[in-house]
């Protein structure tokens, strides 16, 4: 019992502390690649600290939904994070749900953010919500296809079991189905975290913004919670990709030495994945909104091919 509690607390701390660092890392790397100095690595922590101490403005038209959303999003994302394997294949609350629960907990958070974007009554909010729903309606089937590909390979939808199978078959990630599923998931990662070909995370003043448009009315601690949740969501998706597809160095059960090694490998692999994201973000221009469905169609086809090739290769 205390063991489970310890695991939950350890992973909770890891999620809360590591997520802003990954966001900061991506920002810094991106700035360096574009020959700018950029914000420091620890800037997201200072941002969250600053926002948490500030007062906030709530629109007159907003209902209870507006105040409930930050908590719902934050908690749902954390819960999803606890179900994903991070430093060991064994997940702290894996009994409560597998990969489908993770996908739909993230979906619940998105649903509430979109609702509160409408709730605040500003035209930008509605714009952002409708765009977010369009993109996610296209990204979700792809995510499910990629997830099913992996789950069929492992014979289970429990993430702990998937990671364990992946550890035992080190070369499995070279199978075509895994490569295609990884590519599809990478496109989903870019769409879901609002990265450049789909959305620009560095702007609050653009007519084409998606995520920023929905949360435009939020300020103070609520904004801090939503931003923090967004970075945790990014961390969860990245960890899922890492631990399901390249589980080197992941230990099967929690032990002191295993956790430290797992943490080191996780940091290294997060760095590599962040570098890839940064390269994609720097090398591409933002797409026109009507082009986004094309990108998602590519992702969907990759996912479908991945699923087909599990049966045939």
């Amino acid at each position: 019992m205390t063991g489970t509690l310890l695991k939950v607390v350890a992973q909770l701390v890891l999620l809360l502390m590591l997520a802003p660092l990954v966001s900061g890392l991506i920002k810094t790397l991106k700035a360096r690649l574009q020959m700018r100095r950029g914000p420091g690595l620890l800037q997201p922590y200072s941002d969250i600290y600053k926002l948490l101490r500030k007062g906030m403005v709530i629109p007159n038209t907003a209902s209870w939904l507006f105040s409930a959303t930050p908590y719902v999003v934050f908690l749902a994302t954390l819960l999803a994070g606890l179900m994903a394997p991070m430093v060991a294949a064994d997940t702290p609350i894996g009994l409560f749900g597998g990969v489908l629960a993770v996908v739909y907990l993230l979906g619940l958070g998105r649903f509430f953010v979109a609702l509160s974007g409408l709730d605040a009554g500003s035209p930008f909010g509605g714009l952002g919500s409708s765009r977010e729903m369009t993109v996610s309606a296209l990204a979700e089937p792809t995510l499910m296809l990629a997830v099913f590909t992996v789950a069929i390979g492992a014979g289970s939808t429990s993430l702990a079991e998937i990671a364990r199978v992946a550890i035992n078959q080190q070369w499995r990630f070279l199978a075509p189905s895994q490569v295609l599923a990884f590519a599809a998931l990478f496109l989903v990662l870019i769409a879901e975290t609002g990265r450049i070909p789909v959305d620009n995370p560095a702007t609050h003043l653009e007519l084409t913004m998606i995520h920023e448009a929905m949360i435009l009315e939020y300020s103070g601690p609520y904004l801090a919670l939503i931003e923090w949740a967004a970075s945790i969501k990014q961390l969860v998706l990245m960890t899922l990709m890492i631990n399901v597809f390249w589980p080197f160095g992941l230990s099967t059960a929690w032990s002191l030495s295993g956790v430290w090694a797992g943490l080191g490998w996780l940091a290294l692999k997060l760095l590599i994945l962040s570098c890839t994201v940064v390269l994609v973000e720097t090398a591409n221009a933002k797409m026109r909104l009507f082009r986004v469905p094309e990108l998602m169609a590519v992702a969907f086809t990759l996912g479908a091919l991945a699923l087909i090739s599990t049966f045939l290769f």
């Binding site: 169609a297 590519v298 086809t301 087909i308």
Partner: protein
């Protein structure tokens, strides 16, 4: 250096590269810019050469090395250069105008892949052992072939149709290499010569169409009807 002599690893490598060939083919359906399309074709041909090279290495069939080298030299380097110069000369960098829109085209390509897999599966005989190596590459080859056909039908511009024809040829080459471990060398050489001449002739044809109609749109050729 065990991997270099392990046929199982070779099989995995070939399958992986074949999967990338398929992905590039679908990327070509989705890509709008003409120059990008030519580069994707070059990348696809390079992978094809690499597949032929690994089949030659792992099955100890040195004559396929020649086919692999010629694929890389001709289809990954020479033909793309010729085509890019043609694009410069006729000065059309416009986006490709397909008849069906891109998401639908990509979905159809996915469907064609499924058909190809169903066909390819009937050739799968695991009891034949090592002799059936490359059966799954056959499915990839058929889908590259079908998607190449679809691309030819779906595009209006003459130059993009030439590209589609070339990818179709890539599909045939993939099938030939994977199933038979290479046709006789003289046949291969004939095919390569054929492709080169076809590209040159079609290049001149595209240039003439552009000169006389001020456009590469082949649907304008209807005016020739008596």
């Amino acid at each position: 250096m065990d991997l270099l002599h392990n046929p199982e690893f070779g099989d995995k490598l070939v399958t992986l590269m074949a999967a990338f060939v398929l992905v590039l083919q679908i990327a070509m359906v989705g890509q709008r810019s003409l120059v990008m399309n030519i580069r994707l074709f070059a990348a696809q041909s390079f992978l094809l050469g690499a597949i032929a090279g690994s089949i030659a290495w792992y099955n100890h069939a040195p004559h396929i090395f020649i086919a692999a080298g010629m694929t890389i030299l001709l289809k990954a380097i020479l033909v793309p250069i010729v085509l890019e110069r043609l694009v410069d000369r006729i000065d059309i960098h416009h986006e490709i105008a397909p008849i069906l829109n891109t998401p639908l085209s990509i979905m159809i390509s996915g469907g064609l892949t499924l058909v190809a897999y169903l066909v390819g599966e009937s050739f799968y005989h695991p009891e034949a052992g090592a002799a059936s190596l490359g059966h799954n590459t056959l499915a990839v080859a058929i889908s590259v072939f079908l998607i190449g056909f679809f691309m030819m039908i779906n595009r209006r511009k003459a130059l993009t149709q030439v590209l589609a024809l070339l990818t179709l040829e890539n599909g045939i080459f993939l099938a030939a290499t994977c199933l038979t471990y290479g046709m006789p060398l003289i046949v291969e050489l004939g095919v390569f010569f054929d492709v080169l001449v076809a590209v040159l002739v079609l290049g001149i044809l595209v240039y003439r169409i552009r000169e006389s109609f001020e456009s590469m749109d082949v649907s304008k050729l209807r005016r020739l009807r008596g």
